[in-house]
Symmetry: C2
Subunit: 353 residues, 2 copies
């Protein structure tokens, strides 16, 4: 964890809107052949030959999606791009362009926004995405970041939420719950700091879960691996609200049911240990903690031989008839019905308990 200092401070009013836009966009380099025109006109122009275009958008609001008390602006910029790229990964596509719109209050300096954009550009560079437009304006209070991403995919490879079939294997990438545990650590240290600002945050030993919260990555590597093995999932979604919520989206839209197995759900050891220290059941965090940005997908059983060779993929259950409902089989073989909770409901429950 690095802390950063701003020694300079230029007021936004000194630059004006056009000056700010020029400043923030002057280093843009376009890398994709499909990007004909980026920032600098009324609209961006894309060339897309015969493939399909994917569009997705997310808005991040201060005090709801992020807390600037412990979120470095560079990380925030990076994350605001990643959450959008993850949506394109979930369609089995390739992200190529983004637009970024900001509404910022005048408590932010130009340097602060440059820091934010540094993170945005880092994510763009890492994932080969062009920033092609946006809008920057003032807000009466708080910071709002709205990103729209444009991606491409061949029609026959697009993976919707509604394609899961009875018998499909349910797969998940990486591990789950870490981002939520990272958030809990940061919230805890914030409360300590609010009581006594002399105490430095105690973040040692939490590197993995903190990084999972502050700097998530879109699983475009998984998309590439599936592609290399000629696997096209029957359905796919990214895990932004928690495994339980996402598998229910797939089941509801596909009109199927599912069985998940607790002992197959991948949880990192640091996540598990920390959850236990907080008196929480790790699998509950994996099911309901949000912002993992892993991929949840289903493949026909015939793909088992291919899928088992991909690192970082866990097979956690299978798709059933809708009549069998959506259930979790615990380690001691009890059957629990999965319930929709989502991120907000979960946080409320945590606060109550």
């Amino acid at each position: 964890m690095e802390l950063f200092e701003n020694v300079e401070r230029t007021e936004l009013s000194e630059l004006g809107e056009f000056g700010l836009i020029n400043l923030l966009t002057k280093n843009i380099e376009l890398t994709n052949k499909s990007t004909i025109k980026g920032v600098g006109d009324d609209a961006a122009v894309l060339d897309v030959d015969s493939k399909k275009i994917l569009i997705s958008t997310d808005i991040l609001t201060e005090g709801v999606h992020f807390d600037l008390a412990y979120t470095p602006l560079k990380h925030l910029g990076y994350k605001s791009v990643v959450v959008n790229l993850s949506d394109i990964a979930a369609m089995n596509g390739k992200p190529e362009q983004i637009t970024v719109s900001l509404a910022v209050s005048n408590r932010f300096s130009v340097e602060a926004l440059e820091e934010l954009y540094e993170g945005i550009f880092m994510a763009c560079k890492r994932y080969g995405v062009d920033l092609i437009g946006g809008d920057t304006t003032t807000s009466k209070s708080g910071l709002f970041i709205s990103v729209t991403v444009v991606g491409k995919a061949a029609e026959e490879k697009i993976t919707y939420r509604n394609g899961a079939k009875k018998g499909d294997l349910i797969c998940v990438s990486g591990d789950l719950g870490a981002a939520y545990i990272g958030l809990m650590i940061l919230e805890r240290e914030k409360r300590v700091f609010e009581v006594n600002s002399e105490i430095q945050p105690d973040l040692d030993g939490f590197d993995y879960v903190l990084e999972r919260h502050l700097k998530p990555e879109p699983r475009l590597d998984i998309v590439e691996k599936l592609n290399n093995l000629a696997i096209v999932p029957n359905s796919m979604i990214d895990i932004s609200d928690g495994l339980a919520s996402e598998i229910m989206h797939i089941c509801n839209q596909s009109k199927v049911g599912c069985r998940l197995f607790e002992d197959k759900i991948p949880i990192d050891i640091q996540t598990e240990d920390t959850a236990k220290k907080f008196g929480l059941v790790p699998v509950t965090i994996a099911l309901n903690g949000g912002e993992d940005y892993e991929l949840l997908f289903t493949v026909p059983q015939e793909d088992f031989e291919k899928i088992k060779n991909i690192e970082e993929i866990s097979i956690i259950g299978y798709i059933t008839d809708a009549a069998e409902g959506m259930s979790l089989i615990t380690k001691d073989e009890k059957v629990f019905e999965l319930k929709a909770q989502g991120w907000d409901a979960w946080l409320k429950q945590e606060q109550r308990s």
Copy 2:
């Protein structure tokens, strides 16, 4: 002017995020062949054959772009779409899809957001645009609306800001300054109301300027007429920040100068009369008042015979060498250098004077 009443009130918390999204999107009908998949997955999917795709985005923030004291939510929804469609018109394209992202504080009811969406859908229906996605989240305070629009255009018809040539005729659609005068009327009535809430707003006789502010229209009709006459402007931009600011964008990006003639700048009689009542010079309002959403474009002189037959197009000047600068010739033949002001600077100046 209609006032609207909300007799019902459902709290956002009663519905939850998914319930709200379902409610707001359940009546979406997709009309464009290019829209393969709209709302309901991680990303929208578009089919675009051989044309170019245009993307633009705008964010509207409460207290900055709109004041809910006098902006009906339906109008706000309509306008938030229109300002984006206007950007596609300015590229000489056809808008086909939009995404809408909202961040709203809990002081808004479900009915209020339905009202907002009613306006959004009205604009979509009127202009044949599909709403294909978005994100809805909470804000700590205020309402933020971020719209991204996707449009299409044949490559050879796209009009950039940087294509103006020496000798080009400078054309503008409709009339200018009315939206700013409408805003002034609304601000005046708000101040009266704040002093004495018994006094009903006096809006009689201001229908045109009020409608220009509250319910602007994108000039897609002009795009169609140009197309029918086989006119492709050398450059084009929409007038969101005022004529002066926009012609400077064209001149700077095209590396040319311009001469505008005061007596050619189209100003509606209601705009002119009201400006004078406020002690303002009408042409100053036309040059610096924002949000007209008319089109400003340049065409080669050879197109004069064709362009003069289009209703609602005024030829207001011509393009010169960059060395001649950017100037306005007044009615008494004085030469003034055009200065960048833009919307914000202008408002500040108004407040000072």
